[in-house]
Amino acid sequence: MMEKRIRVLVAKPGLDGHDRGAKVVARALRDAGFEVIYTGLRQTPEQIAEAALQEDVNVVAMSILSGAHPHLFPKVVELVRANGMNDTLIVGGGVIPEGDIPALKEAGIAEVFTPGTPTGNIVEFIKANVK
């Protein structure tokens, strides 16, 4: 059997048009040997969940800067699980106030990476937690 290659969907839910952070993370994940599927800006939770299904990714990594994370992140978790993808690791990042993080984790976001996080930490977290 060949070595399994980690596949990550990097997604931008919501309406903010800033994907510099998502692109930096995508590049770092590529350099770590992951296959990164990048779907571009302004994705609905439904589009993200469907792309995750078709691409059979191990990880969904979302970036959001608009403040809509309390609504959109849990919605993606719900839809991904409803598709039968129970093992998919779902993480988030962007401008997320500390106070919002416990609720997001409660909703199934495995980890939240805020501005200033070294990309190496994201790689390490994925490697340690991916199934």
């Binding site: 059997m1 060949m2 070595e3 399994k4 290659r5 995508a26 590049r27 994940l29 590529r30 350099d31 770590a32 040997g33 992951f34 296959e35 990164v36 599927i37 990048y38 779907t39 571009g40 994705q43 439904e46 589009q47 469907e50 792309a51 299904l53 078709q54 691409e55 059979d56 598709n83 039968g84 993808m85």
Partner: protein, 313 residues
């Protein structure tokens, strides 16, 4: 096997997991393919190739929508390059296809080349079979952005479309060997840019040079994919080619050739793996390497004697 049954019953998750098993060469992949094989052979496989930035993904998006409007279901395999250094990849073709994501009649899968150099991945053909067995009517295979010699697509597709854009070189480029030889249909994208007419003329001249020998003269269609201009005409050309190859036995011949290539590749890969396993696991490989280093033996003699030992009764 459950995953096969689920796939044949229309489970997109089963289809997706099947392609993963194929790509990662999981042990169960061979058994899955065995069961899917009788259900394949129905789809029209359309290859889309061309240089980076020519608009292959945008064109795939527009063509897929055109086929959906005709009531056909669509599968898309989009290949992007894998880094030879890290093994990682950015697969970004979906960016141009977001409007198709929520259409249940469309299934899009991105693949990295994973070391293959011909513009596809080694597993593309099997992924196409999975989509075929799933029941897709039309399957698009979009290659990586190619240079001049990545022509594996012709072995995988029924019809090959080459997408070109103006401004990429003089007419000597057009008579070189390689991707310009494999087009069944040519699309000149970004046809509103300077040089589109010149490119069309050069392509025509190139095609005239080998015109009389061929029954099918590849049509050249100008397109502005981002605006949808010329897409319906392009679909008509693609359909015309498909009818032509069906009626003239070309399709049968191409599929025969493909089956032959696939069988030979599978056979060669299996034999190679069998021999490699037998000498690596037993540690004999290291002994051979020592013998070769000290010139006590040479690679040619070793290969000959291994073939005699392992394959000939």
């Amino acid at each position: 096997m459950d995953i096969v049954k689920d796939l044949l019953n229309g489970s997109r998750l089963a289809l997706s997991r099947t392609i993963t098993a194929i790509e990662n060469e999981y042990d169960e992949a061979v058994d899955i393919m065995k069961e899917l094989y009788p259900h394949t052979g129905h789809a029209f496989v359309l290859g889309i190739t061309g240089p980076p930035g020519a608009g292959k993904s945008t064109m795939t998006d527009k063509l897929a929508r055109a086929y959906r409007n005709m009531g056909k279901t669509v599968g898309i395999i989009a290949v992007d390059p894998t880094s030879p250094f890290s093994g990682g990849a950015i697969l970004g073709d979906r960016i141009r296809m977001n409007s198709l994501t929520l259409d249940e009649g469309v299934f899009i899968r991105s693949m990295g080349t994973r070391g293959s150099l011909g513009g596809l991945s080694h597993k593309t053909a099997d992924a196409v079979k999975a989509l075929d067995a799933f029941g897709k009517d039309v399957i698009f295979v979009e290659t990586v952005g190619v240079g001049q010699s990545e022509v594996d697509i012709v072995k995988a597709a029924d019809t090959t479309m080459v997408v070109l854009i103006p401004g990429m070189g003089d007419d000597i480029q057009a008579i070189k060997a390689g991707i310009l030889e494999i087009g069944d249909v040519f699309a000149i994208n970004k046809a509103d840019h300077d040089g589109a007419d010149k490119l069309q003329m050069e392509l025509n001249m190139m095609l005239d040079l080998d015109g009389e020998m061929k029954e099918w003269r590849p049509p050249i269609q100008k397109v502005i994919a981002s605006q949808g201009e010329g897409i319906n005409e392009l679909v008509a050309q693609l359909d015309k080619h498909y009818s032509y190859i069906k009626e003239n036995g070309v399709l049968e011949q191409r599929r025969h050739e493909r089956t032959r290539t696939e069988l030979m590749e599978l056979l060669n890969a299996s034999i190679g793996r069998y021999i490699t396993n037998s000498i690596v696991k037993t540690g004999r490989l290291d002994n051979y390497l020592e013998d070769i280093k000290s010139r006590a033996n040479d690679p040619y003699t070793i290969v000959r004697s291994l073939l005699d030992e392992l394959l000939v009764k």
